[in-house]
Symmetry: C2
Subunit: 342 residues, 2 copies
């Protein structure tokens, strides 16, 4: 539908605007070496591109700026993947330099480095604990009235919940319960615990414990808590340096959104694996109007665990960011797979 020349012009406009943040005019385009025709020709082509919705003017006599549709086309068809330089690669690999056991540390460091490498804001969704299999349950009474339940998964993740002890329960009941739970629930994925408790554990509890149902509900309640994956951020304030956010009110809406984790989940919780680019209003979020979000998933083996994302202005260096995310998510996946699958 678009001629080669139009594609070329669109690409150069987007590239130039990403670099300079200034509307691109026909004259400055005609001076580029890729472009061999006159500014008048370019003006004609630009008028067509504008009519088709790929570029826009900021006012009647201004240069052109890519529209969201323009960015979308650029990302889908015109992007030349950037080859990472050695420095970038070695910086990313420094994430894995130390011996680490804990996912969290790696994840946190990834977020930090990603934001430093891009000057945008990075968001990393920590590994979903729900796939982890239960290794051990422990219940430790704190005093007459309350106890803390501890759940350890095979990956070394620890969850804990404080709860009130049902008044009728004594120490031996508690011990029996813990034994039953461990016997029946070890190896079960966290997300299946609740099911399993009611189906298998219930009958056993009934046989051994007085007031078994009170105990049952107390335990099940403790488990019902949302095992929400943790979010990690890097470079929250980087957006302040972007010229499109020199306006306080835009900054405010954006930072307010970043500080509300519950608003972030729907943005980055992506169903399918791989790299996704969402441009401006594609994010369905008014605070993201001038922003793009690029997400990638990381996994252990075939199982996708979490998401790493970069939030930047729509005028973002798509090519570079995609390459970085690609590279990091691959590395993360292979390191985690190694760590986790032995």
């Amino acid at each position: 539908m678009l001629t080669d020349r139009q594609l070329l012009i669109l690409q150069v406009i987007v590239d130039d605007f990403i670099r300079s943040a200034q509307p691109v005019g026909s004259r400055s385009l005609s001076k580029k070496e890729e472009i061999s025709f006159s500014s008048a020709t370019i003006r004609n082509e630009m008028a067509d591109l504008e009519e088709l919705g790929y570029i826009e003017k900021t006012h009647t006599s201004s240069g052109r700026v890519p529209s969201e549709k323009g960015y979308r086309y650029y990302v889908d068809h015109l992007l030349s993947p950037q080859v990472l330089n050695k420095q970038d690669i070695s910086i990313i690999q420094s994430i894995f330099a130390e011996k680490i056991f804990e996912f969290e540390k790696i994840i946190q460091k990834s977020a930090k480095i990603l934001s430093e490498l891009t000057n945008y804001t990075s968001i990393v969704l920590g590994p979903a604990a729900s796939f982890n299999k239960l290794k051990r349950i422990q219940i430790i009474p704190l005093n007459k009235e309350s106890a803390v339940a501890i759940f350890v998964t095979d990956s070394g993740h620890v969850e804990n919940r404080t709860f009130y002890l049902p008044p009728s329960v004594d120490a031996s009941d508690l011990e029996k319960t813990v034994n039953i739970l461990n016997e029946r629930l070890t190896g079960v994925a966290l997300e299946d615990l609740n099911d399993k408790i009611y189906k298998e554990v219930a009958t056993l509890l009934r046989q051994h414990i007085r007031n078994y149902d009170l105990m049952l509900h107390t335990i099940a309640d403790s488990l019902k808590m949302p095992v929400n994956e943790k979010l990690f951020f890097g470079g929250k304030t980087n957006m302040l340096s972007q010229p499109e956010f020199h306006d306080i009110s835009k900054i405010r809406t954006l930072l307010q959104m970043i500080d509300h984790e519950e608003w972030i989940y729907p943005l980055i919780k992506n169903d399918s694996a791989g790299i996704h680019v969402k441009i401006g209003r594609e994010n369905n979020n008014s605070a993201m109007e001038n922003c793009s979000l690029i997400t990638a998933t990381y996994s252990v083996g075939a199982e996708s665990l979490g998401t790493i994302a970069i939030l930047g202005p729509t005028r973002m260096e798509y090519s570079r960011v995609i390459s970085l995310l690609q590279f990091l998510s691959n590395d993360l996946t292979s390191v985690l797979t190694n760590l986790y699958q032995k």
Copy 2:
């Protein structure tokens, strides 16, 4: 040193500037009902106040603005404590409405509500875990090479550490070790654990475990927790609405500071109990030049546990904020004391 009239004028200037954020002129002052003398008189007095360093001009013919010294004097001598209205009180008390076990939840909610009530940024330093006494240690092997150690305190706080198992250690060693640790360390404050391990546990371990010293160091290493108290924030973006921060670069330095937790600790980690007000450069931090920080401590019984703080512009409503912090820290202390000392 200052005459009564000068004090009155200083007070009215500070009050007015806090309200309006505009330099205060002699004419507008003379119209206030508290003030019964002419603008010319006021001008003379203001000239003196300026010479003494309590107020400043923004330019030769502008009204006056309080200097840091002026705020300091105001806070120390002129402050009329604001009586909280019923609504404020009931909002604060709503923090404790639900039954809660976990300090963290209360603390988090406190930060949120404090920022909503003041429109400034709130910072709450969570309860120092180091005072807590150990209730139970548990070590759970994950696989051949690693295990996770879990420390539960009498307050229900749970810490966990993953570590490599020394190769020579087998299951029965581990069990013995855990027994020894529990026997010897239960009731010991977290901060004293390390000491105690080397002094008392070491000899016992030697008697019962082969390669006891490897085990010893592994455990001790795990314990070397930087049990850094957690920081909670509320209203991080509130400062964006303050007129003195309509300038992007000021906003940036401030937000960057807020996002570096390690820079916050020295600001709010206060030795002595009670309310403290630090104005502008008294904070010894260039990012805080136009900010004041008011801190209060909360405690369990007589033991001071943590800090709640409000970060606002120097032009902050000192009176209101101090009252709010006073009230909340009292409430926090009594609730926590109740919860914790039974």
